[in-house]
Subunit: 198 residues, 2 copies
DNA sequence: CTAGGGTTTGGGCAGTTGTCCAAGGCGATT
DNA sequence: AATCGCCTTGGACAACTGCCCAAACCCTAG
């Protein structure tokens, strides 16, 4: 195996890493060929040697980074013994993400860019569905009655929480955790339905 | 009052309307001076006569449009008699928003652009806080124990829901509504506290 | 040593961007 | 009729963009 080919793949990886960083730093649409090359320490031409387009590079980088984060959430779930504990652990691990950190920003950027690009949309959708499936499976195994719907709301609430916290840092995980836990413990033990008022 | 001045303010309004449309259509960073002018039916130079910069125009347009939407949600709330009904009505009115409609896209675009611009961030944050305050006030008057936290989670979940639905249209309001309603009816009637596990 | 493959270089191309500005139009006031 | 204020025009500017490509490079195989 030639050294050149090895180095080539190393440069490719460096470009992907640079892309993930720059998406978070500057925003999806502000990542240009030249900046990518500079960050990766290569000449501008290299970008279009290893990737068919800047958009393709950004897509591959974002999806990879998102998969890493989602995969990292698996072990967190496995440490929990009850659904309530799972929510607490998830939210606690979210405390690392301020809403303005690289990982959160990359997620938001990817979500948004996905609304403009069908291919990216499908890829991002795949990541989200995977996470929801994983979460739903875990919830189902731990006694939650409607695991899919619960997982869907939980996933959406978590993303919405990150989005809102980026705008208003006073929003803390501790504030929302008690409320969010209610999702897991429906008052279905009593016969009464939801219409508690009036 | 001179006709020229009147026309000037009309052109200004047209530019704001064009900006709101184009943010949704093309994305925040893809709205350019020329496209704005063309959509508003004026020469390119007009943009920088009425606004100090394109960014300023976009900001004013986005905030205005967001305020309109949030103000429109007030009457929806007033039609509800119970918190559960309020959630249903809110979600139902959300059914107009597919996640890929102009209003949803403008919100997402503004949220994201806010992470890159301090001034915009503050303005968008103000809109969100206003909505949450309004919602919290209503919830408090209708028997919800922790109105602020509940409103915060509800608002975040709704935005997250829109975000996720843009990626995966199968997600419907009907699916999440039952789960989301649990947030309002905590199992606090029983003596057991939230730490149901262990 | 030569030939060949994969990789890298740096400049070139045509197009777009935000911002500015000298010049002109036009109705109201003097 | 002349002047004034506000608005509008369309082009100029430098700086950027994605993509491309001939040439050079370097290491391995023959």
């Amino acid at each position: 195996m030639s050294t050149a080919a090895e180095q080539g793949r190393a440069v490719r990886r460096r470009l992907l890493r640079a892309a993930a960083e720059l998406i978070a730093e500057r925003g999806w649409r502000a990542v240009s060929t030249r900046v990518l090359a500079e960050r990766a320490g290569v000449a501008p031409g290299v970008v279009h040697y290893h990737f068919t387009s800047v958009q393709a590079l950004l897509t591959e980088a974002a999806i990879g980074a998102m998969r890493d984060v989602v995969d990292g959430l698996g072990p967190v779930l496995d440490r929990a013994r009850t659904p309530a504990e799972a929510v607490d652990l998830l939210l606690a691990s979210l405390d690392d993400y301020t809403g303005n950190d690289p990982a959160s920003l990359l997620f938001t950027e990817a979500y948004l860019a996905a609304t403009r690009d069908a291919e990216l949309r499908q890829a991002v959708g795949g990541v989200v569905v995977d996470f929801r499936r994983k979460l739903a499976g875990w919830l189902g195994e731990h006694g939650v009655r409607t695991p899919e719907e619960t997982a869907a709301v939980l996933a959406a609430a978590i993303d919405g929480f990150l989005l809102h916290r980026a705008l208003e840092p006073s929003l803390s995980a501790a504030t929302v955790a008690p409320v969010l836990r209610r999702i897991l413990a429906p008052p279905q033990f009593r016969g009464r339905t939801q219409r508690k008022g009036r």
